[in-house]
């Protein structure tokens, strides 16, 4: 990641500019008086050290190369870090990220891998040295992100050799974020160097303000603190720890909302079939699974025939998953469930049997192993918010769950179909007398619930393994959500899903994942016994269905 950024930023730079920047850096650092010839010699000597078998020599070579101001020092060092730097006879060569071979001393491109090339040895110590050297070299980069990363790496390595460089970089730095990072790096260097107590106390303040795990680690390891420093450190430590605790609480809540939205997606279709129609569909999880496999099929077709559409694969899969799962749902309703209305326990058994058949069918067709469903580019990666790292796929699923909920609300309350559906569930015979085809409404309602489950499958395919058992993992939780929230109430389902999700994630750090889940299940069972009709019970005649 870092390296590719690196090269992408560097490639457009003209070599002379780079050389000039390098030269400026090292003039300022006062490490050497730059004269082109001397530089070439220094670089040549440094490179020669890489041929050595001793790690000490290689490490010295890294420091010398960084100091030499060689125009391609960065490329060479990062090549070393990735074991792309080779010794071929007397020459040192490296392979750049694009796969082209270069002579390290001149930078000239070679045709193909030279005979007898052997990778320069690198262990963790060498990699650390490479990182530190790169940190020094890139503090002067033209790219702000690069400089920021470099400042962070100085902060972590606390390599006193970079102190003058950091100082000079601070003087010229314009970007606020980079400047702060540089100040923090400087503070860390001060703290670990031989500055006086006042300077060190100031440095402690600067680092304490960072308030993250790195700051904590830096403060804890300070060598030989004076009593005043020790006091400052311990109070800073307390402050950081409490702020970290708050952030981890926020993080747990976010994960909880994320889990809650997954539960919401899985349970929302059930809220229609179970909540509105009163049909226990144990095959609901398999509708989710069908949706996930539809996504897999769509991606498979796209991979084979139209790879450029890959980023739209989910958008294509959504309506298809709805239709496929919905059609299966209608078929189930017509074929089995309509004969069992008013016999909920029999419905439960029949649909459970169906879920076994569907699972086995998928296992026979697609095989028992996990199928790979890829994330489109806009769903992969993560971003930082305060002390949190949020992944895009989790965030989109939260958004998506709420959108689906909103659409369903509108369908139920604002469309003719929703009106008929509610009429049929409230008073079937009366609705029939008003000319509503109750059979059709039943089928379509069941189809809608199943279709929504299929949509949930598309979303779940992004964060869970797509296997024949996908649905099984969600069925008990989904029923819990619906029963907990109160049957026949979409708001209840929302509240139920979020409550369960957040409680689960808050308990996880305290009790562990499995025990947390057990506690939630037991609490739920007890809750249902106190309020058998859930958080938001239906009132009036509908209760005695």
């Amino acid at each position: 990641m870092m390296r590719s950024l690196f090269l992408r930023c560097l490639r457009p730079l003209a070599a002379p500019v780079l050389a000039a920047v390098m030269a400026a850096a090292f003039v300022l650092a006062g490490l050497m008086a730059a004269a082109p010839a001397a530089r070439a010699d220094a670089a040549g000597d440094a490179l020669a050290l890489f041929a050595s078998k001793s790690y000490d020599d290689i490490e010295k070579g890294i420091a010398d190369l960084a100091a030499s101001g060689h125009p391609q020092a960065i490329d060479i060092l990062s090549a070393l870090g990735d074991r792309r730097l080779h010794v071929a006879g007397d020459a040192i060569v490296f392979e750049d990220a694009a796969g082209t071979w270069h002579d390290a001393l001149t930078g000239a491109a070679l045709d193909g891998e030279p005979a007898g090339a052997k990778a320069v040895r690198a262990n963790n110590r060498i990699r650390r040295a490479v990182d530190a050297a790169l940190g020094q070299l890139t503090l002067m980069s033209a790219d702000a992100g690069k400089r920021y990363d470099a400042a962070l790496s100085v902060f972590k390595s606390r390599d006193q050799a970079s102190l003058p460089l950091v100082r000079s970089a601070l003087e010229t730095e314009q970007d606020g974020k980079v400047k702060r990072a540089l100040q923090q790096a400087l503070a860390a260097l001060t703290l670990y160097g031989d500055a006086d107590e006042t300077a060190k106390l100031e440095a402690i303040d600067v680092i304490a303000d960072m308030g993250n795990q790195d700051a904590l680690a830096t403060l804890v390891g300070v060598p030989e603190p004076t009593p005043a420093m020790a006091e400052a450190i311990s109070s800073a430590q307390d402050a950081i720890e409490s702020s970290l605790a708050i952030w981890s609480g926020v993080q747990s809540v976010y994960y909880g909302i994320s889990l809650g939205s997954v539960l919401l997606l899985a349970a929302i279709g059930l809220a229609i079939t179970f909540g509105v129609m009163g049909v226990i569909n144990m095959a609901h999880g398999e509708m989710v699974m069908i949706g996930a496999y539809t996504t897999f099929m769509v991606q498979e077709v796209i991979r084979n025939s139209a790879p450029f559409l890959f980023d739209y694969s989910l958008a294509i899969a959504l309506p298809l998953a709805f239709l496929v799962a919905g059609a299966v749902g209608v078929a189930i309703e017509r074929g089995i469930i309509r004969f069992l209305y008013g016999r909920p326990l029999e419905t439960l058994l029949a649909t459970f049997g169906l879920s076994l058949v569907l699972q086995q069918a998928v296992r026979t067709i697609f095989g028992p192993t996990n199928r790979e469903v890829g994330n489109p580019s806009w769903m992969s990666g993560a971003f930082d918010l305060g002390g949190l790292t949020l992944t895009y796929n989790r965030m989109w699923i939260i958004v998506f769950a709420f959108v689906v909920l909103a659409i369903l609300m509108v369908v139920l309350r604002r469309t003719a179909f929703g009106l008929q559906m509610r009429a049929v569930t409230q008073n079937r015979r009366m609705a029939g007398s008003m000319g509503i085809r109750t059979n059709w409404v039943d089928s379509l309602t069941f189809g809608l619930g199943s279709g929504v489950a299929g949509i949930a499958g598309v979303a779940l395919s992004q964060i869970d393994n797509v296997s024949p058992n996908l649905g099984q993992g969600y069925i008990i939780d989904s029923f819990m959500v619906v029963v907990f929230g109160g049957v026949g109430n979409l708001w209840g389902t929302l509240v139920g899903a979020l409550t369960l999700g957040i409680t689960n994630k808050l308990l996880e750090p305290v009790a562990g994942a499995v025990l947390g889940k057990i506690i939630v299940l037991v609490a739920l069972v007890l809750f249902i016994q106190r309020k058998p009709r859930g958080l938001f019970p239906q009132k009036g005649r509908a209760v005695e269905r």
């Binding site: 226990i280 089995i336 004969f339 069992l340 909920p344 326990l345 029999e346 419905t347 439960l348 058994l349 029949a350 459970f352 049997g353 169906l354 879920s355 076994l356 058949v357 569907l358 699972q359 086995q360 069918a361 296992r363 026979t364 008990i476 029923f479 819990m480 029963v483 499995v514 025990l515 889940k517 057990i518 299940l521 037991v522 739920l524 069972v525 007890l526 249902i528 016994q529 106190r530 058998p532």
Partner: protein, 390 residues
Amino acid sequence: MITKRIFGNDRLTLWFLGILFGVLALVAVLNLATTPDSAFHVPTYAVALMGKYLCYAILALSIDLVWGYVGILSLGHGAFFALGGYAMGMYLMRQIGPRGVYGDPILPDFMVFLNWKELPWYWLGFDNFFFAMFMVALVPALLAFVFGYLAFRSRVTGVYLSIITQAMTYALLLAFFRNDMGFGGNNGLTDFKDLLGFNLQTDGMRVTLFVSSGILLAACYLLCRWITLSRFGKVLIAIRDAESRTRFMGYRVEGYKVAAFTLSGIMAGLAGALYVPQVGIINPGEFAPQNSIEAVVWVAVGGRGTLVGAAIGAIVVNLGKTLFTGWLPDLWLFALGGLFVFVTLLMPKGILGTVPQLLEMARNRRAQNAVAEKAPDAPPSADAPKGAGE
């Protein structure tokens, strides 16, 4: 009508017990008294397999008692079965003594492996057979009582109850998977050696366990039959058919339900206890919700609310499972799933309700044909006998 039903059932009871004891005796003799190369020899693995079926039949019986007669569809009876099994497993573990892989005189192997220094308190006393047998009944009974008391008191009924029983067994499944629960985690309890000092692997022991399972099945059957025919049983049936009405008539519905549920839990626990030495292992998989639902289907296949049907259903379905998974392993789940759908849609009374009905229909048709042959113009008889299941 009622007397006829009892009479009909009585004949059924005689047939059932007669066949059961006949098979027990026959298998015992054919296994022990014949040589392996004899054509009549019943191999020991088959004895263990049949013993397993009999334990399943007891489990089915316990489900039928609450589902068929009280209308409680428990999807968590596997939990009671497994708890009884674990209690038995703990006794068998203690019987291993110093013969484990690590040779610790007291601690089971998995505890040595986890670096535990002494037995957890809840393992104490399990070296005593009678204490262990007491726990086999007590632990499931306690769980059933507490769970039933809480659920029935707050009038959780129907599918809600089914779902929370399922959550109960699921929670236990997760709990028993944990290593620090002290029940062997994922691997469960296995490598048993002795029961009451007798080697579990001998033919004699296998047959003894098989016969004990049969006797326990007969005892449970008679107990359930006695209960369901008693006054108490009539109240249970009344609760099944009209719970609110029964309550309005002054019966304490919760008390009846808890009693039946607890008794059923104990029966399931005993079944589990006999099951474990015959299959040689107990692990958290027994708690899986799917096992409990499968057990409900045995009852549905045999005929809900008939007791004998539950036992027959358990044996028939499991026999089918053994044969199917041997011949066509991929098709078993299709068959099982199809069975669920088929039975609920087309055979709601199960084998025991449907087969006599079919026989009756066939007899009626023959009778009608006979009548029609004698007097072609006569209308069909109006007072044809009703189906046996009515």
